[in-house]
């Protein structure tokens, strides 16, 4: 029996990490739900955002949390443009092709990053990076708790956007019936690009919350992209609740897996969850489509 004092912090840390996964997965699941594509470029876009946060801090001295105001709109615009100019045209409307096109985008972004910034591991130095709060049974990292809270705020904002705004209604209409939506006068191509843009903006938000306690390298996206896929598949492709719950769950699984199996084998735990869900319940925990 493991000590309570080890187990509880592990679970809490898992939840804290999981909130970031959830945020990344929210973007992925939105893109999937609307465009029905699996965005392979998601990890690369996260990496690009992390570099954005890094350079804003190291060159302009902008705090990562302030960088939210710059990066979120910037990445939204990039995502919007990518969908509008590259993905829509190159895929000829075939699902496998979209997958390949986003893979191509990922390769370009990742390897240009490698070319320009080399594979050095970079971190930023913020005064609050090592602040902790004592909650009695564990010490919690302040920036990670902040990230946890912020992730839920972003998720909440997204929920309000989707349910209360005209844009959200249009997005949901396109997600459900793209041809029908076109018939009633919705600009489907615009909605596709908006969805891809919002999905990318989620990744930018995650990057700003992540970097104070994390690092960036050109390959860093790979670590997240499969986890994000797992979360989305586990939660149910296209489900927001699923992405949130799935993200937290995977965070805990990873944390406990690392505790019991060691770091490297712990990763296998996630892949095994991923494979098992794909095989036995491809609709996920909250998915409604067979």
């Amino acid at each position: 029996m493991l000590e309570f004092t080890i187990l509880v912090p592990a679970v809490i840390n898992g939840l804290l990490t999981g909130s970031i996964y959830a945020l990344i997965a929210l973007g992925l699941t939105l893109i999937y739900g609307v465009l029905h594509i699996i965005n392979f470029a998601h990890g690369a876009l996260l990496m690009l955002s992390l570099f954005g946060v890094y350079f804003l801090h190291s060159l302009a001295g902008i705090d990562p949390y302030v960088a939210l105001l710059i990066l979120v709109p910037a990445m939204f615009a990039l995502g919007y443009g990518l969908q509008r100019t590259v993905i829509a045209h190159a895929s000829h409307g075939k699902d496998e092709n979209v997958l390949l096109v986003t893979l191509g985008i990922a390769l370009i972004i990742e390897n240009l990053a490698l070319f320009f910034w080399r594979s050095d591991t970079r971190t930023i130095d913020v005064p609050y990076a090592f602040d902790v709060i004592d909650v009695g049974f564990a010490f919690l990292s302040v920036p990670r708790v902040a990230a946890f809270g912020a992730a839920f705020v972003v998720a909440g904002l997204l929920w309000v956007l989707m349910t209360r705004s005209d844009l959200g209604r249009a997005i949901r209409a396109v997600a459900k019936e793209r041809h029908g939506a076109r018939v009633v006068g919705i600009d489907v191509d615009h909605i596709f690009a908006m969805s891809y843009g919002i999905g990318t903006a989620c990744v930018a938000a995650a990057a700003c919350l992540l970097l104070p306690t994390f690092y960036v390298t050109p390959q860093v996206g790979n670590a997240f992209v499969l986890i994000a896929f797992t979360v989305v598949v586990l939660g149910g492709m296209g489900s927001f609740t699923g992405a949130l719950v799935g993200g937290l769950l995977i965070g805990v699984v990873e944390s406990l897996g690392g505790l019991f199996l060691g770091e490297t084998l712990g990763q296998i735990g996630i892949f095994l969850v991923f494979i098992a869900v794909l095989l036995f319940r491809p609709t996920g925990l909250f998915g409604d489509r067979a």
């Binding site: 190159a90 997958l99 390949l100 390897n111 050109p218 494979i275």
Partner: protein, 333 residues
């Protein structure tokens, strides 16, 4: 009539066999050898993706398993590498069979299949990383012992002829597949799986056969890689790089055509070499270029260079109607 379908393969192989007579540079030889090796890996992907329509994003799983199988069988069991090659291809087929049995039994298609192959390649990478049997993260080194009986050759030329023979075999196999019932069924599944089922095609078995064939062929490329470089580590053998090359090569050359992977591989690595010359071998630039090529091909030439050649030929000849089956035509080139 059927024998005539092999003429183009015969001519191509003959021309390739004559190349070393004209080439003296070791670097150029290496370029030819690697281009052929990736043509073999690409052909493996092509059988599953181009013909049977199942897009794998994790062909490194087969390539790496073949590579590790041949290395570990030699190191730990002292097996002769030629024997180990056969065993390694069986391992590749087995890994393909396992992944296929799971994925196809549960009717995974399209994006889901791509994801699960990717996940399996990653699992194998982590396993190879943690297992002592495979040498862990430090990798595995095969002692240098250059004897033909040992599948190690002093001369690059001999390596070249070995890989050429393997590629020739893969071309003949693919052509034979095109002229067989199995091949017809694979195309039917690619085009419309429900229709295939309605016409009595056991889609599960056909897809399983395709992935086993593909896995064994990709493993043979992995074996060759091991024998020429004599070193493996998990990040190389099971890396995303091989998975990407495996699909890129046939996409550039033309999916579902016999010569697509061969053409694609030479073009891709030719472009790669030129970029290296121009930019001075900067890390990452070649893969970035691959990404750009992938998008450009999908955008402008979704049926690859073989498709383009087929169209040009028809435009020149004006014998056949413009819309005649493009893949088929290209395959007959």
């Amino acid at each position: 009539m059927m024998a005539g379908r092999y003429t183009a393969i015969g001519i191509t192989v003959a021309v390739l066999a004559a190349l070393p007579l004209a080439v003296t540079s070791n670097e150029v030889m290496m370029f030819l050898i690697l281009s052929l090796m990736f043509a073999l890996l690409g052909q493996a992907w092509n059988i599953l993706g181009g013909y049977a329509g199942q897009f794998s994003f994790g062909h490194a799983a087969f390539f790496g398993s073949g590579a590790y199988a041949t290395a570990t069988l030699q190191i730990h069991l002292g097996l002769n590498p030629w024997v180990a090659m056969v065993a390694a291809m069986a391992v590749g087929g087995l890994v393909g069979g396992l992944i296929g049995a799971l994925s196809f039994r549960f009717r995974l298609r399209g994006s889901y299949f791509a994801l699960i192959t990717l996940a399996f390649a990653e699992v194998l990478r982590v396993v190879a990383h943690t297992s002592d049997f495979t040498g862990g993260g430090a990798g595995i080194l095969i002692p240098l012992d250059e004897r033909a009986a040992n599948f190690q050759f002093e001369s690059r030329d001999v390596f070249y002829y070995v890989i050429l023979a393997m590629v020739a075999g893969s071309l003949v196999l693919t052509r034979a597949l095109e002229d067989s019932r199995l091949g017809a069924w694979m195309l039917a599944i690619r085009e419309n799986e429900d229709s295939a089922r309605a016409l009595g095609v056991d889609t599960f078995r056909v897809k399983l056969t395709a992935i086993i064939l593909s896995g064994a062929m990709a493993a043979s490329a992995g074996v060759f890689y091991t024998q020429i470089f004599l070193y493996l580590d998990p990040g190389i053998a099971y890396g995303v790089g091989f998975s990407v090359e495996a699909l890129l090569v046939p996409i550039i050359g033309g999916m579902g055509t016999v010569f697509g992977p061969l053409v694609g591989s030479f073009v891709l690595h030719g472009v790669d070499e030129v970029t290296k010359e121009l930019t001075g071998d900067a890390p990452g630039l070649n893969l970035a270029l691959y990404g750009a090529l992938l998008i450009v091909m999908l955008r402008f030439l979704p049926d690859g260079l073989m498709g383009l050649m087929g169209r040009l030929r028809r435009a020149a000849g004006r014998r056949q109607p413009q819309q005649a089956g493009r893949l088929k035509e290209a395959g007959d080139a």
